[in-house]
């Protein structure tokens, strides 16, 4: 007796349906996820521990109706949960279809299992980075005091990127930026690969930028799982440029935040950080300028007052010099007439004296004392020897003269 394939498959369907009537909680890694008409088709896989060898494999489906109710329950994390590579815990019922074979019909997913798993992976990643001394490596790079040439890694469509751009370029301080945009996926399975590729090409253009900024808007915790990647963290740590992150979350830090030079909560916060850093530098420069001006003013004031002192001194010296000169001229002018007066009065006195002597020695004084003067033929006779007996002489006395004849000469 033989069975048709359909009969055989129908038998298996019944066996499975009878023996596995309840849905069961199963954990498995997702190898691949495909979406078609709102239904999610999952390739499930289990590998041997620490190996790539596959030891179990199955297919599962989330019907669009179930997906919608899961979305209401789990929220945005659901999309991230359903990424290749994720390990998920799900409630599923095995169903065998005569034509399509065995499929697990997913009814529910427990996100906490994946989160826990991811958290463990995250801790392990951090530990590895610590051992390799990579956690502080990028942070030890010197961040310029002024950040102007910025490489931004983000998704053009991400709201966070637009916020960042608006905040930075619309700043009220008038700072200008040269922003170069590098498109990367900020969610989904290609985040790690795309971000690493862009960072590696950026590392070649180190001279063109002051800093690298990695941003994305807010998102569910699981969305951020891509930023916990060890390879991505290592690439950031090894970057020759300081990396600033604003990965849009409030609660936990991603591993990327830990290795970044500076991590901020949101893209807007990164923009603020950059603006404040530039503002700080500008105000330092302004203070220095002000200080320089004050010092210059003080020096000028000092010099000016010193000059004023010198001027006063010169003025004083000048005035006293003029005074001394004027006094000297005054003195000479006053002294000259008195010198001259003395000179003239001396000359007069001398002449007076001569006059007196002349008068004293003159004949009038002799006549007064009774002497006479004798003249012979108009010539004065001073000795007897000039006379002869019988000579006619004139004798002058005081107040008159007379004629006489010489007789009896005695010698």
């Amino acid at each position: 007796m033989s069975h048709s394939l359909f009969e055989f498959n129908e038998f298996i369907r019944r066996v499975i349906a009878l023996n596995l009537p309840q849905a069961l909680w199963i954990r498995s890694e997702l190898a691949d996820v495909k979406v078609s008409k709102g239904h999610f088709y999952l390739d499930l896989v289990q590998k041997k521990e620490d190996s790539e060898e596959i030891i179990a494999q199955a297919q599962a489906v989330i019907w669009s109706k179930n997906y919608r109710s899961l979305q209401r329950k789990i929220g945005a994390d659901l999309e991230t949960l359903l990424q290749p590579g994720m390990e998920i815990l799900f409630l599923a019922k095995a169903e065998f279809h005569e034509r399509f074979g065995l499929k697990l019909m997913v009814e529910d997913i427990d996100p906490s299992h994946t989160l826990g798993k991811l958290e463990m992976q995250r801790r392990e990643t951090i530990r590895k980075l610590q051992v390799l001394n990579l956690l502080q490596k990028n942070g030890q790079l010197t961040l310029r005091p002024v950040l102007q040439r910025i490489a931004v890694l983000s998704s053009e469509r991400a709201a966070g990127f637009q916020d960042f751009l608006k905040h930075l370029t619309g700043n009220s301080f008038g700072y200008r930026f040269s922003i170069e945009f590098f498109q990367v996926a900020v969610q989904g399975g290609s985040v790690e690969k795309e971000v690493i590729a862009q960072l590696e090409s950026l590392a070649q253009r180190q001279q063109d930028f002051d800093a690298v900024v990695i941003i994305r808007g807010g998102g569910a915790r699981l969305d951020l799982a891509a930023f916990d990647s060890f390879l991505l963290a290592k690439t950031v740590a090894d970057m020759p440029l300081p990396v600033l992150t604003g990965i849009g979350h409030d609660v936990d830090e991603t591993v990327l935040d830990l290795v970044a030079h500076t991590s901020l909560k949101t893209p807007t916060a990164v923009a603020d950080f950059i603006l404040h850093r530039n503002l700080n530098y500008e105000s330092q420069m302004m203070n220095l300028g002000l200080e320089t001006k004050n010092i210059a003013l003080r020096i000028m004031k000092e010099k000016e007052s010193r000059l004023q002192q010198v001027a006063q001194l010169i003025d004083f010296q000048l005035k006293s010099k003029f005074r001394r000169q004027a006094q000297m001229l005054d003195y000479i002018e006053k002294e000259l007439p008195s010198i001259l007066r003395n000179r003239f009065s001396n000359a007069h006195a001398q002449l007076d004296n001569f006059e007196k002597i002349v008068r004293l020695l003159g004949p009038e004084a002799a006549f007064q004392r009774g002497f006479a003067m004798v003249f012979k033929r108009g010539k004065q006779v001073t000795e007897v020897a000039q006379l002869g007996s019988g000579d006619e002489v004139q004798v002058q006395l005081k107040k008159g003269k007379f004629q006489a004849t010489v007789k009896n000469i005695e010698k």
Partner: protein, 64 residues
């Protein structure tokens, strides 16, 4: 003593003036030269006064 006036400096004029005053005081000038010396002294005195006044006017207010 026959130097042209324009070439006299204040200092040389003052020096000459003081010389004349001192020879006059010592009565070392003969009466014949007296009037010439006194005229010269008056001339030098006038020159010094004018020079001093001009200089003073020139520097007036420069350092106030």
């Amino acid at each position: 003593m026959t130097k042209p006036k324009s070439k006299i400096t204040y200092e040389s004029a003052l020096k000459e003036l003081q010389g004349i005053v001192s020879v006059l005081q010592e009565e070392a000038v003969s009466m014949d030269d007296l009037s010439e010396k006194v005229n010269r002294a008056a001339e030098l005195l006038k020159f010094c006064r004018e020079n001093l006044r001009e200089t003073e006017e020139k520097v007036q207010g420069l350092f106030e």
